[in-house]
């Protein structure tokens, strides 16, 4: 960037104090990128289960219900162990704040987790059909917010590559979680019972790739962290695995169980790698003051 005229020509370095970070790097541990994946999988599985129930596909509905249950059980464990004070996890439900996506998300996860668990228990015991129906509806309705809110959570920070991705990130997460839910069900069902879930996995994977591409294009120079270092490696793995999995599922997933299993596993791995890439890109961009300064200088020039 061109330094503004008023800048001293003698500045220690042009854009920062010896490259020291301006922002503090997020302190979130690996539990968080894993949760971005499991939360999305759980949420979209709730939606898929309810949609399958509506369409009369009981086998898919049941499979997705249990996939959702697995995600809903793992997610709180990941979140609680990430806290600096895990013993105070209940403070998350102390208030409800729309200004805090984490507060909103805690309540969504609470509602969704409760509903999915209730539905799964009723299903397992084959009792209380009306409670099960109600729980499935709550699980399905809270599923989409659960899959998407984490994008808002990341965007609602001062981290350049997350905040500036705020228009695309929820769509990346929505499509990716649909792909995960579809792939997980396809992995567990025989090919003839997995027609819908297979289509969802392929469509979600392709939509996710398109949204990610659009996001990186609009991020301009802020796309760099997504292509460099660890984030770049995860991104390349994500794209390769997702596209390979989608292609395999589309071509052979309906006929061959091994192909269906491999393709689904590739999509799941690709979606997990994508969440890791997004997470790591945020840390990398927070660490480097150049991204913060260039973004803000550009904004100042544009507002002049």
């Amino acid at each position: 960037m061109t330094p503004p005229d008023s800048r001293s020509a003698h500045a220690a370095t042009p854009d920062s104090y010896y490259g020291r970070p301006i922002l503090k790097e997020p302190v979130w541990k690996p539990q968080i990128p894993f949760y971005l994946f499991t939360g999305g999988l759980a949420g979209a599985s709730g939606v898929l289960s309810l949609a399958a129930r509506i369409s009369g596909d009981q086998r898919l509905a049941r499979t997705s219900l249990y996939v959702g249950l697995a995600g809903e059980l793992v997610s709180p464990a990941l979140l609680v162990t990430d806290l600096g004070r895990p013993e105070r996890f209940l403070n998350m439900l102390r208030v409800f704040k729309v200004t805090s996506p984490m507060s909103v998300g805690s309540w969504i996860l609470f509602a969704s987790g409760g509903a999915t668990t209730t539905a799964a228990v009723c299903d397992k015991l084959a009792r209380l059909p009306r409670a099960k129906r109600a729980a499935e509806i709550v699980s399905g309705v809270s599923g989409a917010p659960l899959a998407v809110y984490t994008a808002t959570l990341l965007s609602d920070t001062a981290v350049p590559v997350w905040h500036e991705a705020r228009r695309e990130l929820p769509f990346v997460f929505a499509a990716g979680s649909a792909a995960s839910a579809g792939a997980a069900a396809t992995l567990l069902l025989p090919p003839r019972a997995a027609r819908s879930s297979r289509r969802l996995a392929v469509a979600g994977a392709l939509a996710g790739e398109c949204m990610t591409f659009a996001m990186l294009r609009r991020l301009d120079f802020l796309a760099e962290p997504y292509q460099q270092a660890e984030a770049g490696t995860y991104k390349r793995v994500a794209t390769a695995a997702t596209l390979a999995g989608a292609s395999l599922l589309a071509r052979r997933g309906g006929r061959s169980r091994p192909s269906a299993v491999t393709g689904s596993a590739l999509i799941l791995a690709g979606e997990l790698a994508l969440r890791w890439s997004i997470f790591k890109a945020g840390l990398q961009s927070a660490r480097d003051p150049d991204y913060t300064v260039r973004l803000q200088r550009r904004r100042l020039r544009q507002n002049q």
């Binding site: 010896y18 503090k24 979209a44 996506p101 507060s103 917010p145």
Partner: protein, 248 residues
């Protein structure tokens, strides 16, 4: 805050290295390759160094992102208009840390023996930052930094009064030859609604490791929630179209 080792780094007089939640040091010397004053223009002084001062004082933003995003209500706005963490409520979720556009607040990692049960002696884990000495303000005193500063470089008072004083001081500093001098954070119309603690800088904010145009991230939150609602709707519509619409 326990003593943290009294370790100096080799960066000239900058013995602070990093200001944050794990140290009692909150003021940094900023080294700049520039003549001490602009009236010193002889070439012999081009390689001269000057020393600027900075600190990680919380800016106590009028629109504070850390407070907005705190999911437990631990961060709150005091009766003095400052922003303070209630340490008995903070569960160390870490959301305030990337929300702060200045990199002020951070999680404390030094061990804490007062934690209960299996966590005894584990790292503190809660978020810490400058409180503008909430306890002292309640007792009618000025913050410790302003009290201790021997040159009155750190001043405390009503914001309007400080803004007037700062404008006069800026004029004086500029007349004395520091043409790069400017106020940072005194404007209530800036991206964070004005700082509760603002600065007279002698150069661009970046030179001090400060962001040139900080913004409260939650300013864009209504737009972000709308986008999320669209994305959630698209997810539901997509799944229904494929599963219900696509059945044979």
């Amino acid at each position: 805050m326990p003593e943290d080792g009294l370790v100096w780094t080799g960066e000239s007089y900058d013995n602070t290295s990093a200001l944050g939640a794990d140290t009692w040091r909150h003021v940094a010397f900023i080294e700049q390759r520039a003549p001490a004053s602009a009236t010193d223009e002889s070439d012999a002084h081009v390689d001269a160094l000057r020393w600027l001062m900075s600190s990680d004082v919380c800016k106590h933003c009028t629109h504070a992102a850390c407070l907005d995003v705190c999911p437990t209500g631990s961060l709150f706005r005091t009766e003095f208009g400052t922003v303070v963490v209630q340490e008995d409520i903070c569960n160390g979720c870490g959301y305030c840390i990337p929300a702060c556009p200045f990199g002020v607040i951070d999680r404390r990692t030094v061990p804490d023996s007062s934690r209960p049960g299996i966590f005894a002696g584990a790292e503190d884990g809660r978020a810490f930052k400058c409180t503008l000495c909430y306890d002292r303000l309640k007792g009618g005193h000025e913050p410790a930094c302003a009290k201790a500063c021997p040159t009155q470089s750190i001043q405390f008072g009503p914001l309007d009064e400080l803004r007037d004083r700062a404008a006069k001081r800026l004029e004086k500093v500029r007349d004395d030859g520091s043409i790069g001098a400017r106020l940072y954070g005194e404007d209530p119309d800036d991206g964070v609604g004005g700082f509760g603690a603002f600065f007279l800088l002698l150069d661009e904010p970046e030179v001090y490791g400060l962001p040139p145009d900080p913004q409260t991230t939650t300013r864009d939150l209504p737009e972000m929630w709308r986008t999320a609602a669209f994305a959630a709707g698209a997810l539901v519509a997509g799944v229904l179209a494929i599963v219900v619409g696509g059945r044979e």
